[in-house]
């Protein structure tokens, strides 16, 4: 990450710095930044392209009191962070596993342990847009009639200087750290999403102070240079990149591997049990998958080993 100091005479010529780092170093980097300002943003959407290995790394490194943002929908990862006690406030409009509710999110909010703000997609996207564009606010003119408007902490009513009408505005959302997951990157940190859907990843990268990405694999820089239009997030926006096999698990990294619905369901069952008073299974899950593994290899073994992941790879190929 360190940039060599400039030399004007060409004598002690510095070399271009790789942004490739380890999962542990990336987690430490993020933890340090989040201690300054606890605003963390997660890429992907629901069960696709979520930077879960980075989340586990951060939880293992120790983090608490986080304010968590995301593209407007999240499930497993935010629920896991809440289960691990790392979250104070949730700024995500939709929190669900899609086919069922998020058990720890529900429990913690109902117990008053976590504040879940009532928000909507346009507020979050608009706030990220304001930050990415470098302007003090983004006008919004499509929110009416919802009780969310009465509670949304990020929104203000303004008078439109052009039409005179009452509209809304959101100030910049500038995450201190954003975690992204992409399929490929070169060592300079140019990211390539090979998935069809990229959601808000590019916007978040432009809106954030620090961006750390996990990728399925680091590719030679020639791969990037041969097709610059395929780069979704230029290196300029990226501070560190980590090669993590199955780093989005249990969410999907299409076209490489599918989401692990069974894993997420089993996790949710443990969460529901914890909500009903029996936290032993959930605690064991966290020990086994989050705090226990010393490496992604350990994690892969804990989940079910290479045969298990071969099945997820096949599911991504075969639909």
């Amino acid at each position: 990450m360190e940039v060599a100091s400039p030399t004007m005479d060409g004598q002690a010529k510095p070399t271009r710095c790789s942004k490739v780092t380890s999962l542990q170093d990336a987690a430490r980097l993020a933890r340090g930044a989040l201690e300054e300002r606890p605003e963390l943003c997660l890429g992907g959407l629901f069960k696709q392209g979520r930077p879960v290995a980075l989340v586990r790394g951060l939880l293992a490194a120790g983090a608490d009191g986080l304010h968590v943002y995301s593209s407007p929908g999240a499930g497993y990862d935010i629920d896991l962070m809440i289960a691990a006690g790392a979250v104070a406030q949730v700024f995500i409009p939709g929190v669900t596993l899609e086919n069922r509710l998020c058990p720890n999110f529900r429990r913690a909010v109902e117990a008053g342990q976590v504040t879940a703000h009532a928000l909507d997609a346009l507020t979050v996207v608009g706030g990220l847009m304001a930050s990415a564009h470098g302007v003090p606010f983004q006008p919004i003119d499509a929110l009416r009639g919802s009780d969310v408007l009465k509670h949304n902490p990020l929104l203000r009513e303004i008078d439109c200087p052009f039409s005179g009408r009452h509209i809304h505005a959101v100030g910049p959302i500038r995450p201190r750290v954003t975690f992204l997951h992409a399929q490929e990157a070169d060592r300079w940190g140019n990211l390539r999403h090979l998935s069809t859907m990229v959601y808000a990843d590019q916007l978040m990268a432009r809106a954030s102070d620090m961006v750390i990405a996990s990728v399925d694999r680091i590719v030679p820089e020639e791969v990037v240079l041969d097709d610059p239009s395929r780069v979704t997030v230029p290196s300029h926006y990226v501070d560190a990149v980590v090669e993590v096999p199955f780093g989005a698990h249990p969410t999907a990294s299409f076209p490489n591997y599918a989401m692990d619905e069974e894993h997420i369901d089993a996790y949710a069952d443990l969460g529901d049990a914890a909500r009903a008073g029996d936290a032993a299974g959930l605690n064991a899950y966290i020990a086994r998958h989050v705090t226990g593994p010393e490496s992604q290899g350990d994690y892969i073994e804990a989940v079910g080993g290479s045969a298990h992941f071969a099945r997820l790879e096949a599911e991504a190929r075969n639909g």
């Binding site: 669900t96 899609e98 009532a118 928000l119 990220l128 929110l143 919802s146 069809t196 859907m197």
Partner: protein, 255 residues
């Protein structure tokens, strides 16, 4: 063939018939029934209907997927966008959209935030919702929960996540909701629409195997049943054949 029509298949057919050629629309979050309805309309009478506004255009999946937030469910779509373009579509509006929630009330308002308590001290916290704008920036929307009970059809929702007709025409006007809002409520039991004057929900037709009394018993407010209620027009052979052969070969709507 019709004898085996499932409640979800009946829902799909009712919704598909109401979508017109040349429209732009999207499926919303609970996508199984809406996506099937859109696909059926495109196959039968609306080949120029564009699926768009949710970051992908005209997906061509080989089967139905429960969530459209899955690259596989897009199959070979025509284009991909991001949340920035969705921000624009949300303002410009669509022709139609679909919603469902934890609670739906007599005016078509939908709650996804909490049941009981308050937002920050809820008895039961729901998932919330991502996009609140399409319900009123779009020309109209459909309410299509896959469960219809007195628990999720209540007189008044505890929290209005998605505004329907609020408390009627005056409230709607005051809130600046200028489009049609919810047009039809299509459930596994029946079809409801809204009284033009009061904008209260009323029973429009009941699906095969249900009586108006059944439907009323499973609804937490008065459905304004007056006289005979027609039976929902069942799927035609052509509709059912296209639905089962081309759209839902894996039988997700019959599971």
């Amino acid at each position: 063939m019709n004898s085996a029509v499932s409640p979800l298949e009946q829902m799909v057919v009712v919704l598909a018939r109401d979508l017109a050629d040349g429209e732009l629309g999207a499926a919303g979050a609970a996508a199984l029934v809406p996506m099937a309805a859109i696909a059926l309309a495109r196959e039968l009478h609306a080949p120029n209907l564009t699926v768009g506004g949710e970051m992908f255009f005209n997906p061509e999946p080989g089967r139905l997927y429960p969530s459209m937030l899955d690259d596989r469910a897009l199959g070979r779509c025509e284009a991909a966008e991001t949340f920035i373009e969705l921000f624009g579509h949300s303002h410009h509006g669509l022709g139609f959209f679909f919603h469902s929630g934890l609670q739906h009330d007599a005016f078509g308002n939908i709650n996804l935030h909490h049941v009981g308590g308050t937002l920050h001290a809820p008895k039961m916290r729901g998932p919330g919702a991502a996009n609140l704008s399409y319900c009123h920036t779009s020309s109209r929307f459909y309410i299509c929960p896959t469960v219809h009970s007195a628990r999720n059809f209540v007189e008044k929702v505890d929290f209005i996540t998605i505004p329907g007709h609020l408390s009627g025409p005056a409230a709607k006007r005051d809130a600046g909701l200028v489009n049609e809002g919810p047009r039809l409520v299509v459930t596994p039991r029946a079809v409801m629409d809204f009284d033009k004057t009061t904008l209260r929900m009323r029973l429009k037709s009941v699906h095969a195997g249900n009586t108006p009394e059944d439907v009323q018993r499973h609804t937490g407010f008065d459905l304004a049943i007056r006289g005979d209620v027609p039976r929902t027009r069942p799927p035609t052979d052509a509709e059912l054949r296209v639905l089962r052969e081309r759209i839902d070969p894996s039988g997700a709507l019959r599971a």
